[in-house]
Symmetry: C2
Amino acid sequence: MQPPIHFYFDFLSPFGYFAARQIDDLARRHGRGCDWHAMLLGVSVLKVMGLKPLLDTPLKGDYLARDAARHARREGLALARPLHAPPGITLPAARAFPWLKRHHPDIYKPIARALLDAYWLERRDLDADFVAGTAGRFGVDAAACRAAIDGEGRELLRAAVDESLAKGVFGSPFILIDGEPFWGVETLGLAEDWLRTGGW
Amino acid sequence: MQPPIHFYFDFLSPFGYFAARQIDDLARRHGRGCDWHAMLLGVSVLKVMGLKPLLDTPLKGDYLARDAARHARREGLALARPLHAPPGITLPAARAFPWLKRHHPDIYKPIARALLDAYWLERRDLDADFVAGTAGRFGVDAAACRAAIDGEGRELLRAAVDESLAKGVFGSPFILIDGEPFWGVETLGLAEDWLRTGGW
Protein backbone atom coordinates (compact mmCIF):
# COMPACT_ATOMS: atom_id res chain seq x y z
CA MET A 1 0.00 0.00 0.00
CA GLN A 2 1.44 3.36 -0.98
CA PRO A 3 1.32 6.24 1.50
CA PRO A 4 -1.78 8.42 1.59
CA ILE A 5 -1.96 11.71 -0.21
CA HIS A 6 -2.43 14.79 1.96
CA PHE A 7 -5.29 17.21 1.47
CA TYR A 8 -5.26 20.66 3.13
CA PHE A 9 -8.30 22.92 3.27
CA ASP A 10 -9.81 25.85 5.09
CA PHE A 11 -13.53 25.61 5.92
CA LEU A 12 -14.03 29.15 4.62
CA SER A 13 -12.58 28.46 1.17
CA PRO A 14 -15.12 27.57 -1.53
CA PHE A 15 -12.35 26.03 -3.60
CA GLY A 16 -11.37 23.85 -0.66
CA TYR A 17 -15.01 22.76 -0.46
CA PHE A 18 -15.13 21.81 -4.13
CA ALA A 19 -11.94 19.80 -3.75
CA ALA A 20 -13.15 18.12 -0.55
CA ARG A 21 -16.05 16.67 -2.53
CA GLN A 22 -13.69 15.00 -5.00
CA ILE A 23 -10.40 14.24 -3.32
CA ASP A 24 -11.15 10.88 -1.71
CA ASP A 25 -12.50 9.45 -4.96
CA LEU A 26 -9.45 10.76 -6.78
CA ALA A 27 -7.08 9.10 -4.29
CA ARG A 28 -9.05 5.86 -4.34
CA ARG A 29 -8.85 5.61 -8.13
CA HIS A 30 -5.09 5.30 -7.69
CA GLY A 31 -5.10 2.98 -4.70
CA ARG A 32 -4.26 5.72 -2.23
CA GLY A 33 -5.78 6.81 1.01
CA CYS A 34 -6.27 10.49 1.73
CA ASP A 35 -5.30 12.25 4.94
CA TRP A 36 -7.22 15.51 5.52
CA HIS A 37 -5.75 18.55 7.29
CA ALA A 38 -7.58 21.71 8.28
CA MET A 39 -5.49 24.86 7.83
CA LEU A 40 -6.10 28.60 8.25
CA LEU A 41 -5.76 30.94 5.30
CA GLY A 42 -5.79 33.80 7.77
CA VAL A 43 -2.43 32.63 9.08
CA SER A 44 -0.76 31.60 5.82
CA VAL A 45 -2.05 34.32 3.50
CA LEU A 46 -2.32 37.26 5.86
CA LYS A 47 0.47 36.66 8.35
CA VAL A 48 3.13 34.62 6.57
CA MET A 49 2.67 35.77 2.98
CA GLY A 50 1.75 39.33 3.93
CA LEU A 51 -1.15 39.52 1.50
CA LYS A 52 -4.68 40.84 1.79
CA PRO A 53 -7.67 38.50 2.03
CA LEU A 54 -8.05 37.14 -1.49
CA LEU A 55 -11.61 38.33 -1.99
CA ASP A 56 -10.61 41.84 -0.90
CA THR A 57 -7.78 42.03 -3.45
CA PRO A 58 -8.69 44.31 -6.37
CA LEU A 59 -9.41 42.47 -9.64
CA LYS A 60 -8.56 39.07 -8.16
CA GLY A 61 -11.44 39.19 -5.70
CA ASP A 62 -13.98 39.66 -8.48
CA TYR A 63 -12.36 36.93 -10.54
CA LEU A 64 -12.32 34.43 -7.69
CA ALA A 65 -15.97 35.06 -6.84
CA ARG A 66 -16.90 34.49 -10.46
CA ASP A 67 -14.65 31.44 -10.71
CA ALA A 68 -16.21 29.93 -7.58
CA ALA A 69 -19.68 30.48 -9.03
CA ARG A 70 -18.54 28.80 -12.24
CA HIS A 71 -17.21 25.78 -10.34
CA ALA A 72 -20.40 25.56 -8.31
CA ARG A 73 -22.51 25.60 -11.46
CA ARG A 74 -20.31 22.94 -12.99
CA GLU A 75 -20.69 20.74 -9.89
CA GLY A 76 -24.43 21.32 -9.76
CA LEU A 77 -24.19 23.03 -6.36
CA ALA A 78 -26.36 25.93 -5.23
CA LEU A 79 -24.09 27.82 -2.83
CA ALA A 80 -26.19 29.61 -0.24
CA ARG A 81 -23.36 31.90 0.82
CA PRO A 82 -22.57 35.01 -1.26
CA LEU A 83 -18.85 34.93 -1.97
CA HIS A 84 -18.37 38.64 -1.51
CA ALA A 85 -20.13 38.73 1.87
CA PRO A 86 -17.92 38.73 4.97
CA PRO A 87 -17.04 35.12 5.79
CA GLY A 88 -19.09 33.31 8.41
CA ILE A 89 -17.79 31.65 11.55
CA THR A 90 -15.52 28.68 10.83
CA LEU A 91 -12.75 28.71 13.44
CA PRO A 92 -14.58 26.35 15.85
CA ALA A 93 -14.85 23.79 13.04
CA ALA A 94 -11.13 24.13 12.31
CA ARG A 95 -10.36 23.57 16.01
CA ALA A 96 -12.68 20.61 16.35
CA PHE A 97 -11.27 19.01 13.21
CA PRO A 98 -7.88 17.77 14.50
CA TRP A 99 -9.50 16.64 17.75
CA LEU A 100 -12.06 14.60 15.82
CA LYS A 101 -9.31 13.24 13.61
CA ARG A 102 -7.32 12.10 16.63
CA HIS A 103 -10.17 10.64 18.67
CA HIS A 104 -12.60 9.56 15.94
CA PRO A 105 -10.42 8.76 12.93
CA ASP A 106 -13.11 6.67 11.27
CA ILE A 107 -15.70 9.45 11.10
CA TYR A 108 -13.76 12.71 11.03
CA LYS A 109 -14.22 13.08 7.29
CA PRO A 110 -17.99 12.57 7.20
CA ILE A 111 -18.31 15.09 10.01
CA ALA A 112 -16.11 17.59 8.15
CA ARG A 113 -18.17 17.07 5.00
CA ALA A 114 -21.39 17.66 6.94
CA LEU A 115 -19.93 20.89 8.34
CA LEU A 116 -18.79 22.04 4.90
CA ASP A 117 -22.21 21.30 3.44
CA ALA A 118 -23.90 23.20 6.26
CA TYR A 119 -21.61 26.19 5.77
CA TRP A 120 -21.80 26.36 1.98
CA LEU A 121 -25.23 24.98 1.14
CA GLU A 122 -27.25 26.12 4.17
CA ARG A 123 -25.23 29.19 5.16
CA ARG A 124 -24.86 27.97 8.73
CA ASP A 125 -22.22 29.52 10.94
CA LEU A 126 -19.91 26.84 12.27
CA ASP A 127 -19.98 28.07 15.85
CA ALA A 128 -18.95 25.81 18.70
CA ASP A 129 -22.47 24.66 19.56
CA PHE A 130 -23.31 23.85 15.97
CA VAL A 131 -20.04 21.98 15.44
CA ALA A 132 -20.44 19.95 18.63
CA GLY A 133 -24.07 19.21 17.78
CA THR A 134 -23.11 18.03 14.30
CA ALA A 135 -20.40 15.76 15.72
CA GLY A 136 -22.98 14.47 18.19
CA ARG A 137 -25.22 13.35 15.34
CA PHE A 138 -22.37 11.06 14.27
CA GLY A 139 -22.12 9.50 17.73
CA VAL A 140 -19.37 11.73 19.16
CA ASP A 141 -19.71 12.94 22.77
CA ALA A 142 -20.91 16.46 21.97
CA ALA A 143 -19.92 17.92 25.34
CA ALA A 144 -16.37 16.60 24.95
CA CYS A 145 -16.19 18.03 21.44
CA ARG A 146 -17.53 21.36 22.68
CA ALA A 147 -14.85 21.45 25.38
CA ALA A 148 -12.10 20.46 22.94
CA ILE A 149 -12.83 23.46 20.73
CA ASP A 150 -11.47 25.69 23.50
CA GLY A 151 -8.89 23.18 24.68
CA GLU A 152 -7.15 20.27 23.04
CA GLY A 153 -8.50 21.09 19.58
CA ARG A 154 -7.14 24.60 19.76
CA GLU A 155 -3.65 23.29 20.56
CA LEU A 156 -3.85 20.59 17.90
CA LEU A 157 -4.90 23.13 15.28
CA ARG A 158 -2.05 25.43 16.20
CA ALA A 159 0.42 22.58 15.73
CA ALA A 160 -1.26 21.50 12.49
CA VAL A 161 -1.07 25.01 11.04
CA ASP A 162 2.62 25.27 11.98
CA GLU A 163 3.26 21.92 10.34
CA SER A 164 1.37 22.87 7.18
CA LEU A 165 3.41 26.07 6.85
CA ALA A 166 6.63 24.09 7.36
CA LYS A 167 5.56 21.92 4.45
CA GLY A 168 4.97 24.98 2.25
CA VAL A 169 1.18 24.78 2.27
CA PHE A 170 -0.33 28.24 1.68
CA GLY A 171 -3.68 27.81 -0.02
CA SER A 172 -6.94 25.92 -0.01
CA PRO A 173 -7.13 23.38 -1.47
CA PHE A 174 -3.53 22.23 -1.35
CA ILE A 175 -2.49 18.65 -2.01
CA LEU A 176 0.79 16.93 -1.29
CA ILE A 177 1.51 13.70 -3.12
CA ASP A 178 4.75 12.14 -1.94
CA GLY A 179 5.95 15.70 -1.29
CA GLU A 180 4.86 17.10 -4.67
CA PRO A 181 2.66 20.18 -4.13
CA PHE A 182 -0.55 21.00 -6.00
CA TRP A 183 -2.32 24.26 -5.22
CA GLY A 184 -5.86 25.07 -6.21
CA VAL A 185 -8.86 23.13 -7.41
CA GLU A 186 -7.66 23.64 -10.99
CA THR A 187 -4.71 21.36 -10.28
CA LEU A 188 -6.75 18.26 -9.40
CA GLY A 189 -6.24 17.07 -12.97
CA LEU A 190 -2.49 17.55 -12.69
CA ALA A 191 -2.51 15.75 -9.37
CA GLU A 192 -4.34 12.86 -10.98
CA ASP A 193 -1.80 12.80 -13.84
CA TRP A 194 0.93 12.67 -11.23
CA LEU A 195 -0.68 9.72 -9.46
CA ARG A 196 -1.23 7.90 -12.74
CA THR A 197 2.28 8.35 -14.06
CA GLY A 198 4.33 8.65 -10.88
CA GLY A 199 5.59 12.05 -12.05
CA TRP A 200 6.03 13.35 -15.55
CA MET B 1 -17.05 33.58 -37.92
CA GLN B 2 -17.19 34.02 -34.18
CA PRO B 3 -15.16 36.78 -32.54
CA PRO B 4 -11.57 36.04 -31.57
CA ILE B 5 -10.60 35.05 -28.09
CA HIS B 6 -8.27 37.43 -26.25
CA PHE B 7 -4.96 36.32 -24.79
CA TYR B 8 -3.07 38.53 -22.31
CA PHE B 9 0.52 37.86 -21.28
CA ASP B 10 3.59 39.48 -19.78
CA PHE B 11 6.93 38.62 -21.40
CA LEU B 12 8.42 38.02 -17.95
CA SER B 13 5.85 35.41 -16.91
CA PRO B 14 6.84 31.79 -17.52
CA PHE B 15 3.20 30.77 -17.33
CA GLY B 16 2.35 33.32 -20.01
CA TYR B 17 5.08 31.76 -22.13
CA PHE B 18 3.69 28.26 -21.71
CA ALA B 19 0.23 29.49 -22.67
CA ALA B 20 1.56 31.47 -25.65
CA ARG B 21 2.85 28.21 -27.10
CA GLN B 22 -0.62 26.65 -27.01
CA ILE B 23 -3.24 29.34 -27.28
CA ASP B 24 -3.50 29.75 -31.06
CA ASP B 25 -3.92 26.01 -31.58
CA LEU B 26 -6.55 25.94 -28.87
CA ALA B 27 -8.50 28.77 -30.50
CA ARG B 28 -8.17 27.22 -33.96
CA ARG B 29 -9.59 23.90 -32.77
CA HIS B 30 -12.81 25.78 -32.08
CA GLY B 31 -12.86 27.94 -35.18
CA ARG B 32 -11.69 31.05 -33.37
CA GLY B 33 -8.96 33.52 -34.00
CA CYS B 34 -6.82 34.74 -31.14
CA ASP B 35 -5.94 38.34 -30.42
CA TRP B 36 -2.77 38.76 -28.31
CA HIS B 37 -2.25 41.57 -25.79
CA ALA B 38 0.93 42.36 -23.90
CA MET B 39 0.30 43.48 -20.32
CA LEU B 40 2.48 44.39 -17.34
CA LEU B 41 2.26 42.40 -14.13
CA GLY B 42 4.21 45.20 -12.47
CA VAL B 43 1.25 47.50 -12.97
CA SER B 44 -1.61 45.10 -12.23
CA VAL B 45 -0.10 43.08 -9.40
CA LEU B 46 2.05 45.68 -7.70
CA LYS B 47 0.18 48.92 -8.25
CA VAL B 48 -3.49 48.01 -8.66
CA MET B 49 -3.71 44.88 -6.52
CA GLY B 50 -1.18 46.09 -3.97
CA LEU B 51 0.65 42.78 -3.81
CA LYS B 52 4.32 41.85 -3.78
CA PRO B 53 6.00 40.35 -6.84
CA LEU B 54 4.71 36.78 -6.93
CA LEU B 55 8.11 35.13 -6.79
CA ASP B 56 9.02 37.24 -3.75
CA THR B 57 5.90 36.17 -1.86
CA PRO B 58 6.76 33.71 0.91
CA LEU B 59 5.63 30.13 0.23
CA LYS B 60 3.93 31.07 -3.04
CA GLY B 61 7.20 32.09 -4.68
CA ASP B 62 8.73 28.68 -4.05
CA TYR B 63 5.60 26.94 -5.24
CA LEU B 64 5.40 28.94 -8.46
CA ALA B 65 9.05 28.33 -9.29
CA ARG B 66 8.51 24.61 -8.79
CA ASP B 67 5.26 24.67 -10.74
CA ALA B 68 6.91 26.48 -13.64
CA ALA B 69 9.69 23.88 -13.69
CA ARG B 70 7.04 21.15 -13.70
CA HIS B 71 5.22 22.73 -16.65
CA ALA B 72 8.49 23.17 -18.51
CA ARG B 73 9.36 19.51 -18.00
CA ARG B 74 5.91 18.50 -19.16
CA GLU B 75 6.26 20.62 -22.30
CA GLY B 76 9.76 19.32 -22.99
CA LEU B 77 11.29 22.78 -22.57
CA ALA B 78 14.67 23.51 -21.04
CA LEU B 79 14.25 26.97 -19.53
CA ALA B 80 17.58 28.78 -19.49
CA ARG B 81 16.42 31.37 -16.97
CA PRO B 82 16.38 30.51 -13.25
CA LEU B 83 12.95 31.42 -11.97
CA HIS B 84 14.19 32.80 -8.69
CA ALA B 85 16.76 35.07 -10.31
CA PRO B 86 15.81 38.73 -10.76
CA PRO B 87 13.83 39.07 -13.98
CA GLY B 88 15.64 40.16 -17.11
CA ILE B 89 14.80 43.12 -19.31
CA THR B 90 11.40 42.80 -21.00
CA LEU B 91 9.82 46.26 -21.08
CA PRO B 92 11.16 47.14 -24.57
CA ALA B 93 9.48 44.01 -25.93
CA ALA B 94 6.21 44.97 -24.26
CA ARG B 95 6.43 48.44 -25.81
CA ALA B 96 7.31 47.16 -29.26
CA PHE B 97 4.49 44.63 -29.14
CA PRO B 98 1.44 46.90 -29.68
CA TRP B 99 3.35 48.87 -32.32
CA LEU B 100 4.13 45.67 -34.20
CA LYS B 101 0.54 44.56 -33.81
CA ARG B 102 -0.74 47.82 -35.28
CA HIS B 103 1.72 48.14 -38.14
CA HIS B 104 2.53 44.50 -38.88
CA PRO B 105 -0.58 42.56 -37.87
CA ASP B 106 0.37 39.52 -39.94
CA ILE B 107 3.68 38.90 -38.20
CA TYR B 108 3.35 40.32 -34.71
CA LYS B 109 2.77 36.91 -33.20
CA PRO B 110 5.76 35.15 -34.76
CA ILE B 111 7.94 38.04 -33.61
CA ALA B 112 6.51 37.84 -30.08
CA ARG B 113 7.10 34.09 -30.04
CA ALA B 114 10.70 34.60 -31.16
CA LEU B 115 11.22 37.11 -28.36
CA LEU B 116 9.65 34.79 -25.79
CA ASP B 117 11.86 31.91 -26.95
CA ALA B 118 14.95 34.13 -26.76
CA TYR B 119 14.07 35.27 -23.25
CA TRP B 120 13.14 31.87 -21.84
CA LEU B 121 15.27 29.41 -23.79
CA GLU B 122 18.39 31.49 -24.46
CA ARG B 123 18.21 33.85 -21.49
CA ARG B 124 18.49 36.90 -23.69
CA ASP B 125 17.55 40.29 -22.32
CA LEU B 126 14.85 41.87 -24.46
CA ASP B 127 16.51 45.26 -24.66
CA ALA B 128 15.54 47.74 -27.36
CA ASP B 129 18.34 46.79 -29.75
CA PHE B 130 17.67 43.10 -29.45
CA VAL B 131 13.92 43.59 -29.93
CA ALA B 132 14.39 45.82 -32.98
CA GLY B 133 16.93 43.40 -34.43
CA THR B 134 14.58 40.47 -33.95
CA ALA B 135 11.75 42.37 -35.64
CA GLY B 136 14.18 43.22 -38.44
CA ARG B 137 14.77 39.52 -39.09
CA PHE B 138 11.06 39.27 -39.88
CA GLY B 139 11.25 42.12 -42.42
CA VAL B 140 10.24 44.98 -40.12
CA ASP B 141 12.11 48.29 -40.41
CA ALA B 142 14.37 47.84 -37.38
CA ALA B 143 15.13 51.54 -36.98
CA ALA B 144 11.43 52.39 -36.95
CA CYS B 145 10.80 49.67 -34.40
CA ARG B 146 13.70 50.90 -32.28
CA ALA B 147 12.26 54.43 -32.34
CA ALA B 148 8.73 53.21 -31.53
CA ILE B 149 9.94 51.57 -28.33
CA ASP B 150 10.52 55.04 -26.91
CA GLY B 151 7.64 56.64 -28.76
CA GLU B 152 4.43 55.29 -30.24
CA GLY B 153 4.90 51.85 -28.69
CA ARG B 154 5.21 53.31 -25.24
CA GLU B 155 1.91 55.18 -25.64
CA LEU B 156 0.17 52.19 -27.16
CA LEU B 157 1.33 49.96 -24.31
CA ARG B 158 0.10 52.43 -21.73
CA ALA B 159 -3.34 52.45 -23.35
CA ALA B 160 -3.32 48.65 -23.67
CA VAL B 161 -2.48 48.19 -20.00
CA ASP B 162 -5.25 50.60 -18.98
CA GLU B 163 -7.67 48.71 -21.19
CA SER B 164 -6.63 45.34 -19.80
CA LEU B 165 -7.16 46.55 -16.24
CA ALA B 166 -10.58 47.92 -17.21
CA LYS B 167 -11.45 44.44 -18.43
CA GLY B 168 -10.34 42.89 -15.12
CA VAL B 169 -7.15 41.31 -16.42
CA PHE B 170 -4.63 40.88 -13.62
CA GLY B 171 -2.42 37.91 -14.39
CA SER B 172 -0.40 36.17 -17.05
CA PRO B 173 -1.74 34.26 -18.83
CA PHE B 174 -5.26 35.61 -18.83
CA ILE B 175 -7.82 34.70 -21.45
CA LEU B 176 -11.15 36.32 -22.24
CA ILE B 177 -13.65 34.32 -24.26
CA ASP B 178 -16.71 36.40 -25.08
CA GLY B 179 -16.06 38.20 -21.80
CA GLU B 180 -15.60 35.06 -19.69
CA PRO B 181 -12.26 35.27 -17.81
CA PHE B 182 -9.74 32.47 -17.40
CA TRP B 183 -6.65 33.12 -15.30
CA GLY B 184 -3.55 30.93 -15.30
CA VAL B 185 -2.13 28.23 -17.49
CA GLU B 186 -4.05 25.66 -15.42
CA THR B 187 -7.31 27.03 -16.81
CA LEU B 188 -6.57 26.31 -20.47
CA GLY B 189 -8.57 23.10 -20.14
CA LEU B 190 -11.51 25.00 -18.68
CA ALA B 191 -11.22 27.56 -21.45
CA GLU B 192 -11.34 24.77 -23.99
CA ASP B 193 -14.42 23.27 -22.28
CA TRP B 194 -16.01 26.69 -22.49
CA LEU B 195 -15.32 26.97 -26.20
CA ARG B 196 -16.61 23.46 -26.82
CA THR B 197 -19.83 23.84 -24.90
CA GLY B 198 -20.50 27.57 -25.12
CA GLY B 199 -20.56 27.77 -21.32
CA TRP B 200 -21.42 25.10 -18.80
